[in-house]
C-alpha cells in the first residue's frame, strides 16, 4: 500500500513540476519554450574568455530578457544562477592565469603599474561576466560575492605588498593634474576624463571589494604615510611649533586623499564631513601621537636645547592632548581653527617619564658627567617639564633619581652655592636673571581651608605633594634635608672669595650676601656678616697701625671663631719678615690690648724687589717663596735639607716648588743635586736678552679654607682615635656598641650606616678586622 501512496505522491510532484515549467501551455509547448529560454539565458550568462574575441557573441537583448522572464516565471532563476556560478568556477582558470601573470611582472619589476593594470583587468573580467541588472540585486550580489571570493582566494601573498604600495602611491597621485597612463584602464574611451586622477583607481578597487577587504591595510598605509611625514619634517626641529604645521598638512594633503577611500558616496560637504569624522579623528590622533612619540624620544636633547626648544615642548604639551571631534570637523572644512586645549589625554605621560628617566640614567647620571652639567640639566628639566605639566607630577617622577644621585655627589652643594652667588667665571648661572629673588620655600602642609583646592592629578604617586617649592633654587636646596649644609659651604666659598679680593672692593660680596639673606634668612648668614665686617675692620685697623708706624705689611685680621677652619700648615717667616710681623703685632696690641695676632704666614702674597749685584728683580710671590729668597740673602748656598730644617713644618715638596719658581726667575740655580746657589750675577741664558727688571706674577690661587670634605675627614680622624681607644681597651666590640660608645666623641652625629661604611674602609686598610660581627684592631 505504501508503494501506492508513494507512487501517487511522486506523480503529484511530477505533475506540479511539469506544470511549473510548462505553464498553462497546451501539451509540452510550455516545456519546449522553457528549454529554449534556458538555453538562451545560460548561453548569455556563460562566462567567456575575454581574451578570445571569437567567444564573444552578441545577443538579442529582447530575446534574452524574454528568456529570463520566462525562467523567472517558472521560478527557476535560482537554478539558473547555480548553473551560472558553476560555469564561472569552471572558467576561473582564465582569471587565475592573468592574476599570476601580472603579479609575476610586479615581482620582477616592482612597479605598481602592474598591480594597477591587474586591478583594471579584473574589473574587466568582472564586468564581462556580470549578469544584466534586470535579474535583480539578489543575483547580482550573489555573483559579486562569488567573484570576489574567488579572486581573493587566488591572490598570492605578493598581492598585499603590491596593493599596499599602490595605495601608498595614491598620495602623490592626488596632487597630479592629470593621471599617469597606468592609473587609467587601457580600454577607457579617451573622451571620458575621470573627475580626479585617482578616481578610476578607487572605483575599480571598490568594484572588486578590495576596499572592504583591505580596509586595515589602507589605513595602515595612511598611518605610515603620516609617520614618515612627521619624522621627516619634525625630527630635530625644535625651534618652531610643528603641530599647527602638521595639522595644516593634514588638512591639505590627507583630507583630500581621504575623500576617495572613505567618502566617495558623499553628495555634499556636509555628508562628507560626517563620513570622514570617525576615520579622520583616528588619523589626527595618530599624527599627534607620532609627534608625541618623536618628541618623547628626543626629550633629553630637547631639554638640553632649552630654551631654544620651547616650541617643541609646546608641541608636546598640545600633542599629548587629544583634539576634540569638532576640532577635526574644522579641519575638514578647511577652517584652520585655534588648537584647542586637550579634552582627553593621550596616555603618553608614563611613556615620557620612562624614556626620560632612562635617558637621564644613561646620559646624565654617570661619573663622567660634571656636577655642574647635571645641575644645569636638572634645572632645564624642571623648567621644561613645568611647561608640559604645570602640576609637576611628571617632574616629581623624573627628578627623583636625579636628586638621589646629586645627593651622593660630594661637590653638589658647592656647585649650587657657587651658582647662588653668581660665580662670574662660569658664565651661565643656574638662576634665571629675571627670576625674582625670594625666600626659600619650605614644604607646606595642605591648607584644608583652601576653597580652590583640587585633588592631586590621577597619576600622582603617594609621595607627591602639590605645594612643593616652585622656584628653582628652592628646589635645588630641597635636595638636602637641611639648609645648614648650604650655609656652611657658603662660608667656605665666601672665605675663598674674600681672601682672594686684593683691591679692597667687597661690594660684590656684600651684594651676594644681601641676596642670600633674602633666600636663607638673616639669622643663617650672621656669620657671613661677621666675616665681611672683619674685612672692612682689617682695613681700618691697618690704616690706624700704618698711621702710627708705616709698615709694608697689610694683614687681613679675621675672627677665628666666625671663619671656617683655615689651612693650618703655617710656618714662621724668617729674617726681616718676622721682624715686620712682630713689630706689626706690637702696634696692633697697643691698639687693641685685649687681642692677639696669630699669623697665618702661608696665606697672602709678598711683593719683592730683589737687588742683586747686576740687576733688580721685582716679583709678587707667595710667602714661602719670599722666605726662601730671604734665607738666600743670609747665605748663598743652601741644600734642600737645610731649608727644610730652617723653615720647619713646611713640606719638602713645597720648598722644592718654591725653589723652582726662583730658578725660573733666574735668581737661583741648582748647582748639584739638592744644592741651590744664589746668582748674584745673571748667567747668560740661551734666550739671551732678559730684562734687568721684570715683574712676574707668580701668584697661584691657594685655597685657604678647608673644604667641607676636608673638615669631615678631619672629624673622622678624631672618631677613629676614639674607635682605636675603645678597641684597645675593651677588646672586640659589635658595631652597635661602637656606635653608642662614640657618643663620648664630641659632636659625633654619624648614623650607624655611615659608621659601618667607615669601619669597612678601615678594614680594607688593614687597621681592623671583623669576625662574627665583632670588630677588633689588627695588631
Amino acid at each position: 500500500m505504501a508503494t501506492d501512496a508513494l507512487r501517487l505522491h511522486t506523480a503529484a510532484k511530477w505533475q506540479r513540476a511539469f506544470e511549473r515549467l510548462n505553464g498553462a501551455q497546451p501539451g509540452i509547448q510550455g516545456l519546449l519554450s522553457f528549454s529554449e529560454a534556458w538555453k538562451v539565458a545560460s548561453d548569455f550568462l556563460h562566462p567567456r574568455d575575454i581574451n578570445d574575441p571569437g567567444s564573444i557573441k552578441t545577443h538579442d537583448m529582447q530575446q534574452v530578457r524574454a528568456a529570463f522572464d520566462l525562467i523567472g516565471k517558472a521560478k527557476m532563476l535560482s537554478m539558473l544562477l547555480e548553473n551560472f556560478l558553476d560555469d564561472m568556477r569552471k572558467q576561473q582558470y582564465l582569471v587565475e592565469r592573468e592574476v599570476r601573470q601580472y603579479l609575476e611582472e610586479y615581482e620582477t619589476t616592482n612597479q605598481v603599474d602592474s598591480v594597477m593594470q591587474l586591478i583594471f583587468r579584473l574589473v574587466a573580467w568582472y564586468n564581462a561576466w556580470k549578469p544584466i541588472a534586470e535579474l535583480g540585486p539578489t543575483i547580482l550580489s550573489a555573483y559579486t560575492l562569488a567573484f570576489q571570493t574567488h579572486i581573493f582566494s587566488i591572490f598570492p601573498p605578493s598581492f598585499s605588498r603590491g596593493f599596499k604600495e599602490l595605495i601608498a602611491s595614491t598620495f602623490d597621485l592626488v596632487n597630479t593634474s592629470c593621471p599617469p597612463p597606468w592609473a587609467i584602464p587601457r580600454d577607457l574611451p579617451p573622451t571620458e576624463q575621470p573627475p580626479r586622477p585617482d578616481y578610476m583607481l578607487w572605483t575599480a578597487c571598490e568594484t572588486l571589494g578590495l576596499l572592504d577587504r583591505y580596509e586595515s591595510l589602507i589605513s595602515s598605509v595612511c598611518y605610515e604615510h603620516i609617520e614618515a611625514h612627521v619624522y621627516e619634517t619634525c625630527a630635530k626641529k625644535w625651534d618652531e611649533p610643528m603641530l599647527p604645521k602638521l595639522r595644516e598638512w593634514m588638512t591639505e594633503e590627507i583630507v583630500p586623499w581621504m575623500i576617495m577611500p572613505y567618502a566617495r558616496g558623499a553628495r555634499n560637504a556636509e555628508e562628507a564631513r560626517t563620513m570622514l569624522q570617525g576615520v579622520g579623528s583616528r588619523f589626527d590622533y595618530h599624527a599627534c601621537k607620532t609627534l608625541c612619540d618623536l618628541r618623547i624620544q628626543e626629550i633629553f636633547d630637547i631639554i638640553i636645547d632649552y630654551p631654544d626648544s620651547q616650541s617643541a615642548l609646546q608641541d608636546l604639551k598640545v600633542a599629548s592632548s587629544r583634539p576634540g571631534l569638532e576640532d577635526f570637523g574644522m579641519m575638514v572644512n578647511r577652517v584652520r581653527g585655534r588648537l584647542q586645549e586637550c579634552l582627553q589625554r593621550v596616555d603618553q605621560r608614563s611613556q615620557l617619564v620612562v624614556t626620560l628617566r632612562k635617558a637621564n640614567k644613561k646620559r646624565l647620571l654617570h661619573p663622567g658627567a660634571d656636577t655642574k652639567d647635571i645641575l644645569t640639566q636638572y634645572v632645564s628639566i624642571i623648567r621644561c617639564l613645568r611647561i608640559i605639566d604645570p602640576p609637576g607630577v611628571l617632574l616629581y617622577k623624573v627628578a627623583d633619581p636625579i636628586r638621589k644621585y646629586l645627593r651622593e655627589r660630594p661637590d653638589t652643594i658647592r656647585c649650587i652655592v657657587a651658582s647662588l652667588v653668581g660665580d662670574g667665571e662660569s658664565g651661565d648661572s643656574l638662576v634665571d636673571e629675571n627670576e625674582p629673588i625670594q625666600p626659600l620655600q619650605q614644604m607646606q602642609a595642605d591648607d584644608y581651608n583652601d576653597p580652590n583646592w583640587e585633588p592631586e592629578p590621577i597619576d600622582a604617586g603617594p609621595d607627591f605633594r602639590t605645594n612643593k617649592p616652585s622656584d628653582v633654587i628652592s628646589t635645588l636646596v630641597s635636595i638636602y634635608d637641611s639648609k645648614d649644609l648650604f650655609v656652611k659651604e657658603l662660608q667656605v666659598l665666601l672665605t675663598q672669595r674674600l681672601l682672594a679680593v686684593k683691591d679692597g672692593n667687597y661690594e660684590r660680596e656684600r651684594r651676594n650676601i644681601e641676596i642670600l639673606k633674602i633666600r636663607f634668612g638673616e639669622a643663617a648668614l650672621q656669620v657671613c656678616e661677621v666675616m665681611l665686617r672683619d674685612m672692612t675692620d682689617s682695613r681700618r685697623i691697618d690704616q690706624h697701625v700704618q698711621a702710627q708706624k708705616p709698615m709694608p705689611l697689610h694683614p687681613t685680621i679675621i675672627s677665628r671663631h666666625f671663619w671656617p677652619p683655615l689651612q693650618t700648615n703655617s710656618f714662621t717667616m724668617p729674617g726681616q719678615f718676622r721682624e715686620i710681623q712682630e713689630s706689626y703685632a706690637r702696634e696692633f696690641h697697643l691698639f687693641k690690648p685685649d687681642k692677639r695676632l696669630h699669623w697665618l704666614s702661608h696665606l697672602g702674597t709678598i711683593k719683592l724687589d730683589i737687588e742683586l749685584q747686576d740687576r733688580t728683580i721685582t716679583a709678587e710671590v707667595p710667602p714661602l717663596e719670599a722666605s726662601i729668597v730671604e734665607l738666600f740673602s743670609q747665605k748663598d748656598t743652601w741644600t734642600v735639607d737645610e731649608l727644610v730644617a730652617e723653615l720647619k713644618s713646611v713640606e719638602k715638596t713645597a720648598i722644592l716648588k718654591s725653589l723652582t719658581t726662583w730658578i725660573d726667575l733666574g735668581v737661583l740655580k741648582e748647582e748639584a743635586e739638592s744644592r741651590y746657589k744664589l746668582l748674584e750675577i745673571a748667567e747668560a741664558t740661551p734666550s739671551g736678552s732678559k730684562a734687568p727688571t721684570r715683574s712676574v706674577p707668580v701668584v697661584e690661587e691657594p685655597t685657604p679654607a678647608l673644604t667641607i670634605q676636608q673638615q669631615q675627614a678631619e672629624q673622622m680622624r678624631v672618631y677613629w682615635k676614639f674607635i682605636e681607644g675603645m678597641l684597645t681597651n675593651l677588646g672586640s666590640l659589635p658595631l652597635a656598641r661602637i656606635q653608642t660608645m662614640l657618643k663620648f666623641a664630641p659632636g659625633y652625629d654619624r648614623t650607624i650606616e655611615q659608621l659601618a661604611e667607615f669601619m669597612e674602609a678601615a678594614r680594607r686598610e688593614g687597621l681592623v678586622m671583623v669576625k662574627d660581627g665583632m670588630w677588633k684592631l689588627c695588631r
Binding site: K721, G725, F744
Partner: protein, 181 residues
C-alpha cells in the same frame, strides 16, 4: 652665739647628706665635662703604650686602661689591663686604680692588683689627669720604688733581672681579645 651655732649645727649635720648629694649632682656635670675633656685629650694625644676608655657608654666614671711595658725593661712587650674608677668629686680626689691583669711588680699587689704610687695617694693634685697617671704607671713599671714594696718578693729579686723575668712570666696572663664585660 654658741647657742645659735649649736642649734644650727645638728641641722647642718642633718642637712649635710642631702646637701652633699646635691653638690655631687651639681658637680656631676662639671666632672663629666672634665672627664670628657680628658678622654678627648687622651684620644688625640698619641702617647705610645698607654690608652684608656670608659667601660660602657652609660658610666663615664668607670674606665678600662691598657699599659704596655716600656721598651728596654723586663716588661717590654707585655700588656696590662687596669681599671680606673673616678670618685664623684674628681679631680679633688684621685681615681681608684688597680691592675686587672696579674702584674708581678714590687709596688703592685699580685693578688688584688692594688698599686703603691704616691701621686695616687697623698701626692695627688687636681692638675693630674688620666694621661699623667697612665704615664706615671708606665714609668713605674721600669723604675719601681723598692723602698715601700707591696710585693716584697718581687722587690727582693728586682736586681736579678733573669730571675725576675721568670717570676714575671709565671704570673703574666696575656690579654684575651674578648674581655669586654
Amino acid at each position: 652665739m654658741d647657742q645659735i651655732m649649736s642649734s644650727l649645727a645638728p641641722r647642718g649635720g642633718v642637712s649635710t647628706k642631702p646637701a652633699t648629694g646635691g653638690a655631687a649632682g651639681e658637680s656631676g656635670g662639671s666632672v663629666t665635662k672634665r672627664l670628657s675633656n680628658e678622654l678627648m685629650t687622651l684620644m688625640m694625644s698619641s702617647s705610645p703604650g698607654i690608652s684608656a676608655f670608659p667601660r660602657s657608654d652609660s658610666n663615664l666614671f668607670d674606665w678600662v686602661g691598657t699599659i704596655e711595658g716600656p721598651a728596654g725593661t723586663v716588661y717590654a712587650g707585655l700588656k696590662f689591663k687596669i681599671s680606673i674608677v673616678f670618685p664623684p668629686n674628681y679631680p679633688m680626689s684621685p681615681p681608684a686604680i688597680k691592675f686587672d691583669s696579674p702584674c708581678y711588680h714590687p709596688n703592685v699587689d699580685i693578688n688584688g692588683g692594688g698599686i703603691c704610687l704616691d701621686i695616687l695617694q697623698d701626692k695627688w693634685s687636681a692638675v693630674y689627669s688620666v694621661q699623667t697617671i697612665l704615664l706615671s704607671l708606665q714609668s713605674l713599671l721600669g723604675e719601681p720604688n723598692n723602698a715601700s714594696p707591696l710585693n716584697p718578693d718581687a722587690a727582693a729579686i728586682w736586681d736579678n733581672a733573669e730571675q725576675f723575668k721568670v717570676q714575671l712570666m709565671k704570673h703574666y696572663r696575656p690579654i684575651a681579645d674578648d674581655v669586654t664585660e
